[in-house]
């Protein structure tokens, strides 16, 4: 079915700075010219694809787990309001405080106020997509509060004044030599003789962050899962920086999108199998921390949870598009995507890159704000094959393209190039004689083909189609002509 998406009472994110950038074709063209970037990405994604495949192959009920994961997320969304209220009640009953935020600005204001109340002007942070999305670090900085990223890749991005380019490994676009240079330039007190050995680089980060952890009074985290039934929050990580932040400070502030719930404690038995194998390609990630409100005498005694909308309810309003909210941020779809592997995460202009980003970001911002992302895919389907909760990303992309074309038609006098081309193709292919004539005429198109047999630019009015696509030059002989020549007349 197609659903129209106009005039619903939900609101897309208003502050979209971290969810959209320049048009994808422009950014992609620049990224494709960067050979170093492509080499770094190719190497890293090849490694992680092989690791994932090996540990997924070990699990003989993988498909059953995926189906359960998909269904659990659908069930979560169907009663999201009830689950949120249940979560709030459970967290509150265990001594935590729950806050709600309609958008990025409101979430940032809540967190800033909570940090101010502690008197601290510094926070340590666990890697969190939600706080990236709302630009929390910048908001805290403008309030005079320094936010220190403690995940190694996030630290590399932060010290390098860079932007994250991958959901799991935000510095995937950097190789070891580049990271050494960033550390030598930006890390206070670093050994100037630091080599580019990954172990040495990781140890440099350990030394730099150790004193920060031991003295930190406030931490900010995201959450991988929240259990509505019990009020339990979970953070899945590898380095131990998460445990440091979740355990040592007095105050813990967790920012979480409203879609990250699971209904029941038992449901984690599914996701704790799906996530690590899909994400880092491990049977289990080194550390998972779970906490339910406040535990007297153990860990932070001042515990907050900020529930963030920021365009999620607008996404939920689209019966087809809401499936993007099922995402558990494993990033397997990035690692298998031929487009992501070549252009990298920055080209998507959003903190959510890759296939899932191409369906999530435009829905969070509204499609018209992010119109090129649904086209940033060849629709090959590899993302659906690896998605641990079976999000049908190719169908969502097509759905969003249709929305874009519809909205374009509603707001522009001239239809979009895709609409023109598809309408023309429909007219030609709808009649056998027209189709045969077009194929004969198509032979002339060979004149436009370059040496590689592709047409890089069609003449107007068809130039819109080739502005971000190459078109194969038509063959010298159509299939129908070949059949007629070798097998006689078409019956």
């Amino acid at each position: 079915m197609t659903s129209t998406f106009l005039g619903l009472p939900t609101v897309a994110a208003t502050d979209t700075e971290h969810l959209r950038g320049e048009p994808f074709p422009v950014a992609a063209r620049r990224a494709l010219a960067d050979g170093q970037l492509r080499a770094n990405l190719g190497r890293a994604t090849r490694t992680i694809r092989a690791k994932r495949q090996a540990v997924v192959d070990e699990v003989d009920d993988w498909q059953e787990l995926r189906e359960a994961g998909r269904a659990l997320k659908a069930a979560t969304m169907a009663r999201l309001d009830e689950h949120l209220e249940q979560l709030e009640a459970a967290v509150t009953a265990r001594g935590g405080t729950v806050h709600w935020a309609r958008d990025a600005a409101e979430a940032n204001a809540v967190v800033t106020e909570l940090v101010r109340a502690t008197g601290s002007d510094e926070v340590v942070k666990v890697k969190s997509m939600a706080t990236q999305e709302i630009g929390l670090n910048e908001a805290l900085a403008s309030a005079g509060i320094a936010a220190l990223e403690t995940d190694l890749a996030e630290l590399i991005v932060q010290l390098g004044n860079d932007r994250p380019s991958h959901i799991l490994v935000p510095a995937i676009h950097r190789n070891r030599a580049e990271i050494r240079e960033i550390f030598r330039r930006e890390m206070p007190g670093v050994d100037p003789d630091l080599t580019d050995d990954p172990r040495q680089l990781a140890m440099a980060a350990r030394r730099f962050l150790r004193s920060k952890f031991l003295s930190a009074r406030v931490a900010v985290s995201g959450a991988n899962f929240a259990v509505a039934e019990t009020g339990t929050l979970a953070v899945v990580e590898s380095e131990g920086n998460g445990r440091m932040c979740l355990t040592l400070p007095q105050t813990l502030i967790t920012v979480m999108g409203i879609e990250k719930l699971v209904p029941a404690w038992q449901d984690l038995e599914v996701f704790l199998q799906l996530l690590p194998r899909s994400s880092t390609g491990e049977r289990m990630n080194p550390y998972t921390s779970m906490w339910t409100g406040v535990t007297p005498g153990d860990g932070p005694q001042d515990v907050h949870l900020v529930l963030l909308d920021n365009g999620r309810t607008a996404t939920l309003a689209d019966e087809v598009g809401r499936e993007a909210l099922h995402c558990i941020r494993c990033s397997a779809c990035l690692n298998v995507c031929p487009v992501y592997e070549r252009v990298g995460g920055h080209a998507y202009g959003s903190v959510y890159p890759g296939p899932i980003g191409a369906v999530l970001s435009p829905q969070l911002t509204g499609v018209e704000q992010n119109a090129t992302l649904p086209y940033a895919s060849s629709l090959c389907g590899a993302c659906l094959d690896v998605c641990p909760v079976k999000i049908d990303i190719p169908s969502l992309l097509v759905h969003l393209r249709a929305q874009h074309v519809e909205q374009h038609r509603a707001t522009h006098r001239l239809p979009s190039p895709e609409a023109v081309t598809m309408a023309a193709a429909g007219w030609v292919m709808g009649d056998e004689r027209r189709f045969a004539a077009a194929q004969r005429a198509g032979g002339a198109g060979r004149l436009l083909g370059g040496r590689r047999g592709v047409i890089a630019t069609l003449p107007p009015p068809l130039a819109g189609w080739t502005s971000s696509r190459d078109l194969p030059a038509p063959p010298a002989e159509s299939f129908r002509a070949w059949w007629r020549r070798t097998r006689g007349e078409v019956s």
Binding site: L72, D81, L214, S238, E269, M284, P286, Y287
Partner: protein
């Protein structure tokens, strides 16, 4: 926070209800045809294999050692001088660890713990399939920071506390307790996705796997898995 008199809470919940429309509350079925809790036997060799695969050290009592003997061996070989233990560890462990032991009384700070060489704890359970140990802050495991700050974590796992799979673990754990799932030493793959072990958590994880008979405990300090760590 309010704007125009409507709280953020009410507005977000209202948006959710509006977004769901007539479909709200319909509950799609959840097929649980995967292997659930109790589906298979516990394989101790698999646990040892999976722990070692992620570079945890493992000692078993193949030659009939008690846990005290294995602890003493581990400490001697490690060359660690100072240890911290939670308040509820069995007396036999304390004897094996010798004089350099600090018992957590709830006041040790992260800086204090940074100065000790290692920590010895029990665990709530271990998962064979994934090589994971889970701590739930029971008396023999203590506060979460104990097993985090020191660089060497020595963990006693009783064979009776090993479960086969993740669903088995979830079925046995109490989510209202603070839980720490540990699979090998801390690690990162953030540089070119190459795994480097030992970042912020303990750089060495050593597991002592023994039958309960080799880890005698006075009646007052059995697993204590149902007691809160510190009740205020």
């Amino acid at each position: 926070m309010t704007s125009g008199g409507v709280t953020a809470r009410d507005e977000v919940l209202g948006r959710v209800r509006a977004a769901l429309g007539e479909l709200r509350g319909t509950l799609p079925g959840v097929p649980r045809s995967y292997h659930g809790a109790g589906a298979g036997p516990v394989d101790l060799d698999l646990l040892v294999d999976r722990l070692r695969d992620y570079h945890a050290l493992v000692r078993t009592n193949g030659d009939g050692h008690t846990v005290a003997g294995l602890l003493a061996d581990a400490v001697r070989e490690r060359g660690a001088r100072s240890f911290v233990v939670p308040a509820g560890v069995p007396p036999a462990w304390l004897e094996a660890l010798g004089s350099g032991v600090l018992v957590d009384d709830g006041t040790l700070t992260p800086v204090d713990l940074d100065a000790v060489d290692g920590v010895v704890t029990g665990c709530a359970l271990a998962i064979a399939e994934t090589g994971t140990i889970v701590l739930d802050a029971s008396a023999d495991q203590g506060r979460r920071l104990l097993s985090l700050v020191p660089d060497y974590h020595l963990c006693v796992v009783r064979e009776e506390d090993v479960v086969a799979t993740v669903p088995d673990a979830v079925a046995r754990l109490d989510p209202t307790r603070p839980l720490t799932w540990i699979s090998g030493p801390s690690a990162t793959s953030d540089i070119e996705l190459e795994r480097v072990e030992g970042v912020h958590g303990p750089r060495t994880l050593e597991v002592i796997l023994v039958p309960a008979a080799a880890d005698p405990r006075p009646p007052s300090t059995p697993g204590q898995s149902s007691e809160a760590p510190v009740q205020s």
